[in-house]
């Protein structure tokens, strides 16, 4: 095992991680960046360096903007180690990872920038082949230029769903329907945040453009849909839902589901440091100071893994974290001027967020399934009904559901059922999710082969 020591270890090559590495290098820190993918850019700028021009054109200018950050990163002098999976991080800055073999690096500080993942969409039939995340389909478009072979149905809510629809229209894909679950109450919830949305008018107008393009396209849009379910035996055959009080059934072989993104907190949770329940974004987030530092540890978090803020704000958070780290390590004496500039930028880039959170808050029935036969833990195939029965037997929290029925003990290690299990138990007990807590996440947080430890 190698034991490199460096000023800063950055985990994640998305906007937050890349920007943090650039800023830290500019301040004279030595930086190692680890990332699970073999190309830089994270999910939002996935394949940014290799995507051909026509694909960049289809994906739009917000995607193409990632090229500038990627180029800055390549010039930064960061020790970049792609294709590596971090499986352990300690509060004093030791990082273990695999990438062909296992290795250890120690950072005087470590920045975790593990980004976001799509919020689970636990409905009947969501485990069937042909049901996948809209974000997943967008990754296929960015990474491989892959498009749906036949008419595709997009279902759910949130900016990414409309963005993908817009990209598919530009690419000439056939969209069978968009089934929108944004409820009328969403507009009422969002109203108090309208001023913020207007202050973030650039983001707002981009969103309105996407929706207008979708309307012009003539694609059938079912607004205010609810009670989504997927039918099929060996694969998806149809999407069913309620629209204006009536049941609708749409035949489809590919249904792309999306109801927002949530922080990918597996890494920060595994450190045992404090997290809290964000009731606006309905997810866990690490407790940090304003720079992203977790308590008095060597660990910082920036970007969507600290709470959903979007790509541009993530990059700014990464730079702010790097400033604080440079100050902490004595590499930069006066950070005040740069920090003021970046904080102003961050404010501009997050104005719209409370509005989006309120408008696109996913329906309760699509987060906490009322049907007992809906699979919640996809790996170990545990249903909502089973989890409810555990609660009736006295199960108080997610860790106990493991003992009751292996829920959360499969290969995804609770990443895809954690939020649902917490909310189901909270509902059953009649308490706040904060009180129920999350699975205790322990290293190794990625599968490691015994052979990885042998040369």
């Amino acid at each position: 095992m190698s034991g490199d020591v460096t000023d800063l270890v950055v985990i994640g090559a998305g906007p937050a991680g890349l920007a943090a590495a650039c800023e830290a290098r500019a301040l004279g820190l030595s930086v190692i960046l680890l990332d699970e993918q073999t190309t830089i850019g994270g999910q939002i700028y996935r394949n940014i360096e290799a995507a051909p021009p026509d694909r960049r054109e289809i994906l739009g200018e917000d995607y193409a903007a990632g090229q500038k950050l990627a180029a800055e990163f390549r010039e930064s002098g960061t020790d970049y180690r792609g294709g590596t999976s971090v499986w352990n991080v300690t509060t004093d800055g030791t990082v273990d990872y695999v990438g062909g073999h296992t290795a250890t690096v120690t950072g005087r500080c470590v920045l975790m920038a593990s980004g976001a993942m799509e919020r689970p969409f636990p409905i009947k039939g969501w485990t069937l082949p042909g049901a996948m995340g809209a974000g997943a389909a967008q990754i296929l478009l960015k990474g491989a230029g892959a498009m749906p072979s036949g008419p595709v149905v997009l279902a759910g809510c949130g900016p990414l769903l409309y963005l993908l629809a817009w990209q598919y229209l530009r690419a000439g894909a056939e969209i069978g329907a968009v089934v929108d679950t944004t409820d009328a109450a969403g507009y009422v919830r969002a109203l108090p945040h309208a001023l913020g949305a207007l202050m973030g008018w650039r983001d707002l107008s981009k969103g309105l453009k996407l929706l207008a393009a979708l309307k012009r396209s003539g694609v059938p849009v079912y607004s205010g849909a609810s009670a989504l379910a997927i039918e099929g035996e060996a694969a998806v055959e149809a999407l069913t839902f309620k629209h204006r009080g009536k049941p609708v059934r749409l035949s489809a072989s590919l249904v792309l589901l999306h109801q927002g993104v949530v922080p990918n907190t597996q890494l920060s949770l595994s450190t045992g440091l404090e997290h809290h329940w964000n009731s606006a974004q309905l997810c866990w987030q690490p407790v940090t100071d304003e720079w992203g530092r977790m308590g008095d540890s060597a660990l910082y978090v920036a970007g969507d893994s600290r709470g959903i803020v979007g790509a541009l704000a993530s990059a700014t958070q990464g730079r702010l974290a790097a400033l604080s780290i440079a100050k902490q390590l004595g590499a930069a004496a006066d950070i005040a001027q740069r920090a003021t500039e970046l904080k102003r930028q961050l404010a501009g880039r997050t104005h719209i967020r409370p509005f989006l959170d309120a408008l696109y808050r996913p329906l309760t029935e699509h987060r906490v399934p009322s049907r007992d036969d809906v699979t919640v833990c996809r790996c170990e195939e545990v249903t909502a009904g089973q989890i409810r029965s555990y609660v009736e037997l006295g199960c108080l929290g997610p860790n106990q559901t493991k003992t009751f029925g292996r829920c959360g003990m499969g290969p995804c290690q609770g990443r895809f059922c954690g939020l649902t299990v917490t909310e189901l138990i909270a509902e059953g007990r009649g308490v706040d999710p904060e009180e129920v807590g999350h699975y205790r996440v322990r290293p190794p947080i990625k599968p490691v082969l015994l052979g990885d430890f042998v040369d």
């Binding site: 073999t38 082949p129 042909g130 996948m132 995340g133 990754i139 749906p148 895809f416 082969l449 052979g451």
Partner: protein, 109 residues
């Protein structure tokens, strides 16, 4: 149009291809893409069978968090096919149920 694949990758004359096999059947796929993308565009709908019910599963997240895309690659079981780029000659098999402990199994990929 009845479709036998979920996704298609439009042919590009410039693109380099590699040949991989799934369950012994050869597939010619663009170089540089993930194994999961290659299999989806190659018409594979059943990547693995679930460990309890033995039900067919396919990729859900494409970014390494859902573990639905697990397949056997070059003799090593339960690899995340969405994270691994295709390589010439790669032999891929369906992941059936849970991984069994194999003593003295082959070299890792």
């Amino acid at each position: 149009m009845a479709t036998d694949t979920f996704f298609s990758i439009p042919k590009s004359t410039a693109a380099r291809t590699v040949t991989i096999t799934f369950e012994g059947e050869p597939l010619s796929v663009p170089a540089g893409i993930s194994v999961a993308a290659a299999l989806l565009a190659g018409g594979v709908k059943n990547f693995r069978s679930s460990v309890v019910g033995g039900r067919p599963r396919a990729p859900y997240c494409m970014m390494g968090v859902c573990f639905e895309c697990l397949v056997e690659i070059d003799g090593i079981p339960a690899r995340q096919s969405c994270l691994i780029p295709v390589r010439e000659g790669m032999a891929i098999r369906r992941q059936i149920g849970a991984v069994e402990l194999q003593f003295g199994a082959g070299e890792k990929a």
